[in-house]
């Protein structure tokens, strides 16, 4: 299953300041308006800041790093690192 839209969103958080601000102010609304399709599971993982789940689903680490760096979905550098370090050696496939 493609996780392309999640990866695209993550890169857009770095490139698109308007999207970034909308995600910080109204994450659910911003995701609903995002033009690339997201599954319910992807949406739930993003809104929960569950980067570990997104990593298991195929999220790219360079791109997901922007979520912590730019503080969206309740993440920051420290919490992002903690959740990703918990995934070390756990990714399947």
């Amino acid at each position: 299953m493609s996780i392309l839209s999640v990866n695209r969103l993550c890169r857009d958080v770095m490139r698109d300041l308007t999207l970034r601000k909308r995600l910080q102010d109204d994450p659910a609304g911003a995701l609903s308006a995002y033009p690339h399709p997201l599954t319910d599971a992807e949406r739930a993982a993003l809104l929960g800041g569950d980067v570990g789940m997104l990593y298991r689903m195929g999220g790219n680490t360079f791109l997901m790093g922007y979520l912590g760096r730019y503080k969206v979905f309740g993440l920051d550098t420290a919490s992002y690192s903690e959740r990703m370090r918990a995934m070390n050696e756990k990714k399947a496939g």
Partner: protein, 273 residues
């Protein structure tokens, strides 16, 4: 004919501009880059060819080539919001890049033609510190070192050899320097960062091993040991070693002048001429 007059290996960490802005020209990173800047200037290059692994800022997951040759009169970067660094436009050489592309295809490689591109910190940070006046045109040759399946180290070394022969088949007597850009062991926003930090160095012993093999000119052993699994165990940017390996493929008899490691940072600075 054109010739490769020297080759350089450098790291390209996106925190370098902020670090040097904060700590000044006497900090270790600034002095190491200054040393290579002086070496590069002494070589009087007409052209730079840089092997680079993009971090999904030039390309994206929807269309990701194993190899690509950047063909442009100029290109801009960094496009990935590097602290303390403005975007700038760097000169390139479209005709020479087209020549490289054609020659490398005739040598049985399959690089993509890449036009109208931007580059990220992996190209812009080294150029900023090695050629701050940006007078020397540069051509990026992109290698996918980040998203498996990665090309084999032997393939990347052979690409470097093919690039050298391609350079030597250009009729004008241009002086060309090649650059391999990247780290030996580093994890950035992956699963192996230091606790609470954006990065970490998961395998300093692998960085030390690479250093040892380079110092001893044991390139065959380096290639044999640089498997995808080994490189990625050293961090999510461990595949940047492939840029160095491609650069080593270009040196053909030039001697290592010096290599200065920062093993705890998982990278090194080096010059061959």
């Amino acid at each position: 004919m054109a010739s490769i007059v020297g080759a350089i290996g450098v790291p390209h960490n996106p925190n370098f501009p902020a670090l040097i802005a904060r700590e000044g020209p006497e900090c270790e990173t600034a002095r190491l880059f200054a040393g290579l800047r002086a070496e590069l200037a002494a070589l009087q290059p007409d052209l730079i060819v840089m092997f680079d692994t993009d971090h999904l800022n030039t390309f994206f997951l929807d269309n990701l080539p194993i190899f690509g040759v950047g063909v442009a009169d100029e290109f801009s970067g960094p496009n990935d919001d590097v602290p303390a660094m403005k975007r700038y436009t760097a000169p390139s050489h479209a005709a020479f890049a087209n020549h490289l592309l054609s020659a490398v295809v005739r040598a049985d490689f399959d690089p993509a033609l890449v036009q109208d591109f931007e580059v990220d910190h992996s190209v812009s940070v080294p150029l900023n510190f090695l050629t701050p006046d940006l007078r020397v045109p540069s051509i990026p040759i992109f290698i996918n070192g980040h998203v498996p399946p990665l090309p084999k180290a032997a393939r990347c070394f052979a690409l470097g050899e093919a690039v050298r022969r391609a350079v030597e088949s250009w009729p004008e007597p241009l002086r060309v320097v090649t650059i391999g850009s990247g780290s030996f062991s580093l994890d950035v926003h992956g699963t192996k960062t230091n606790p609470g930090q954006p990065s970490g160095v998961p395998a300093p012993e692998w960085a030390a091993r690479i250093l040892q093999l380079i110092e001893r000119d044991q390139f065959s052993d380096l290639i044999a040991e640089s498997t995808q699994e080994q490189m990625l165990r050293a961090g999510n940017v461990g595949g940047e070693l492939l840029n160095w390996i491609a650069m080593l493929g270009t040196i053909n008899g030039h001697a290592l002048q010096w290599i200065k490691p920062e093993v705890k940072h998982g990278h090194a600075y080096a010059i061959w001429r």
